[in-house]
């Protein structure tokens, strides 16, 4: 079945002359140098511009920051791949913590805490995947707290695809650039339509 289909595509491709023999250089796409200094500043600025909140803290202040962010909220799922960060996040969540192996329970959570595979300075994005994290912990609860280390920040998308291809190895990977948004009703911007209305980034120096 697939073979006959492929044969038809083959014939169709041959029916017209090839006009482009090699993929052109993508240099023009790149606006941020990989080795640029101040990627953390750039990331923080751009993540804020797309509607996420960035809190920059030292590693020692992580627990206090998480406690402050979690204080007014209820059930929390911790979907953190890094074992050290996972333990600290679970400790901060305390009695709010729910089990992180039941996807259906995510719908009853208020907060999802994740770490990230990496972050992208140019667009202010974070990258999460299902490797070591329960799927959709970053999208089902109305609040997403993402822990990002400065050393995880890449310059741009090209940098992601070239230097961190492993980030896309999981069954599901998502580049997140802002809280869930829609403007379907008369172009009025509404956040939190399906995914979280608030994305809190804790940026560790």
């Amino acid at each position: 079945m697939n073979e006959a289909f492929l044969a038809r595509v083959r014939a169709a491709v041959r029916a017209q002359p090839v006009t482009v023999h090699a993929v052109p250089s993508h240099a023009v796409v790149r606006r941020v140098a990989v080795e640029a200094r101040g990627l953390a500043e750039l990331f923080a600025k751009n993540a804020t511009a797309v509607g996420m909140r960035v809190t920059r803290v030292s590693d020692a202040d992580l627990n206090a920051t998480l406690l402050r962010l979690l204080e007014p909220h209820g059930a929390t799922v911790v979907a953190v791949r890094d074992p050290d960060l996972a333990a600290r996040a679970a400790k901060s969540a305390g009695s709010r913590l729910v089990a992180n192996d039941n996807a259906d329970a995510l719908f009853d959570c208020i907060v999802g805490i994740t770490d990230v595979e990496c972050a992208i300075a140019e667009s202010g994005s974070i990258v999460v995947s299902t490797t070591g994290r329960i799927r959709n912990a970053w999208i089902t609860p109305p609040i997403h707290i993402a822990i990002v280390r400065e050393s995880q920040i890449l310059a741009d998308l090209v940098d992601l695809f070239e230097s961190r291809p492993d980030a896309l190895d999981a069954a599901s990977t998502t580049i997140i650039t802002g809280p869930s948004k829609t403007a379907d009703i008369e172009g009025v911007l509404v956040t939190g339509v399906h995914g979280p209305a608030a994305v809190e980034i804790v940026l560790l120096a």
Binding site: A15, S125, S180, E186, P196
Partner: protein, 491 residues
């Protein structure tokens, strides 16, 4: 199939266009929204790429064209690697094939309910009616598509499907269909929809989506949304079906960056869509959550024929909607006037071409003979296109074919013959022009400062059947120039 986007053929555009132009509200919504999006698009490209914008478009054009010129290789690689990741890959030649493959999978799982992320190709193949007929309750989860679904309406824009509807219509349908309390507040309306859908996500047997790109190297799919409904639609149900046209293939992640940057900026003036999701197989044994089965349904439905024909370029389209926003005709007549899920300039060329490729010799243009003329040939669509599809060139090509096949109005040929004769005879030309201006002024109807000729006499009436002619007032350029030359004033 919804008659608005799958009308009886041959399709007659004029009654719909006429109705749209008279609809004051539609003129307001569509006009304002498209104008705003078009302006914002220019702004973000200027800010982020400046003078390099055109080079970026050239790179994207050639990268996608390369993929089309090597689509057989890429398709083979994609199938092999997607299968290696644990996905099952199906190929569908016709729309009916695509639906039947899905129905078979649904039957196998005893599926009764489905949540669906936005996808143009599923509109094309009529998946929803097929599912409904088989008793599979399907929920559109994109907010705009959801509102259209509960209203029995159809999308009128590739990216902003309910651009023709307002909050009042939405409020009324939510009261009627969801039993919600009446509110016109967009935030409250959105939250009502959110709560309604959350209940459905948890129960659904099937998750359906389209894809914006297929990566051959990785055997993966890329899906861009702003709402996050894709991830919720396919993350919960045990089975995920991806419907995707074969033209979405590119080499791999190595070629993805230009398209992600162009798609979000061209469509909604964002640096990236909020969620750019990669699908790379079903749930792994060590993962929590996600579908146990992943099926790709690779759709032809005319694409292979387009690939083989003179309009291969059309398959470069990444469905950003920028040409719709830029088009002065789309802004006036709205999406439903095009009789297809693909409206606007790209739809005007793509719809007949897909129809031709499926229906055999020239059935396409004969069935959609108004579409090639639904353009002022101003070139705004080409300027807006991130992959540089020369839409005006194809529209002209279609007009020539209509004429060669005797499908143009007779008066069109006569007018052009008359024009050719006059343009070679300056004295006659000037006299004719003066006569036309005189008659137009006599017959024109004033509307404020401007006067319009709505019913031209004789054979010229064919032209004003679908347009009004703005009547020129004052002197002609020739007279004005002569006057200024005489008085020595600089123009």
């Amino acid at each position: 199939m919804n008659e608005l986007i799958a009308p009886a053929l041959p399709f007659d555009m004029l009654p719909r266009a006429r109705e749209a132009v008279r609809d004051v509200k539609l003129q307001q919504f569509v006009g304002n929204a498209t104008h705003l999006k078009d302006t914002q698009r220019g702004g973000i490209f200027g800010r982020d790429f400046g003078n390099d914008y055109d080079d970026l478009r050239t790179v994207a054009r050639d990268t996608k064209q390369y993929a089309l010129d090597h689509l057989d290789e890429l398709l083979e690689r994609f199938i092999e690697r997607a299968q290696a990741s644990g996905a099952r890959v199906h190929t569908a030649t016709t729309a009916a094939d695509a639906c039947n493959i899905a129905l078979e999978i649904a039957r196998h799982h005893g599926a009764k309910s489905c949540v669906k992320s936005k996808s143009m190709v599923t509109e094309e193949i009529g998946l929803l009616p097929a599912f409904e007929a088989a008793g599979i309750a399907t929920l559109e989860t994109d907010l705009g598509e959801f509102i259209l679904q509960i209203d029995g309406d159809a999308p009128s824009h590739i990216v902003t499907p309910m651009i023709h509807k307002d909050r009042v219509a939405t409020a009324k349908s939510f009261v009627r269909e969801l039993g919600a309390r009446y509110t016109e507040d967009p935030t409250e309306l959105t939250m009502i929809a959110r709560e309604h859908m959350r209940g459905v996500y948890r129960q659904a047997d099937l998750g359906v989506s389209g894809a914006n790109f297929l990566l051959a190297d990785e055997g993966a799919a890329v899906i861009c949304t702003n709402e996050g409904n894709f991830d919720l639609s396919v993350g919960g149900p045990p089975v995920h079906l991806v419907f995707v046209g074969i033209e979405k293939l590119i080499r791999g992640a190595c070629d993805l960056a230009p398209f992600l940057k162009l798609l979000a900026r061209s469509g909604t003036a964002q640096p990236l869509t909020v969620y750019t999701s990669f699908v790379r197989g079903p749930r792994r044994s060590d993962e929590h959550g996600g579908p146990k089965e992943l099926h790709y349904i690779l759709v032809d439905a005319g694409r292979i024929g387009v690939l083989a024909g003179k309009k291969r370029d059309l398959l470069r389209c990444i469905r950003c909607g920028a040409c719709l926003n830029a088009c002065p005709v789309y802004r006036k007549v709205g999406g439903h006037s095009y009789g297809s899920m693909y409206a606007g300039p790209i739809g005007a060329v793509l719809t007949p071409e897909l129809e031709r490729a499926q229906g055999g010799h020239d059935a396409g243009l004969a069935n959609y003979k108004d579409l090639p003329r639904a353009s002022s040939l101003c070139g705004a669509c080409y300027e807006a296109c991130p992959v540089k599809i020369d839409i005006p060139k194809f529209l002209l090509h279609d007009r020539a074919r209509l004429r060669a096949r005797g499908l143009s109005p007779k008066s069109e040929g006569a007018t052009l013959a008359l024009w050719r004769m006059l343009s070679q005879r300056p004295v006659l030309f000037r006299m004719a022009l003066r006569a036309v201006r005189f008659h137009a002024r006599m017959l024109g109807k004033a509307d404020g400062e401007q006067s319009w000729l709505t019913h031209a006499p004789g054979p010229a009436g064919a032209w004003t059947k679908s347009r009004d002619l703005g009547v020129a007032t004052g002197e002609s350029f020739r007279e004005w120039f002569k006057e200024h030359k005489r008085s020595g004033g600089a123009p």
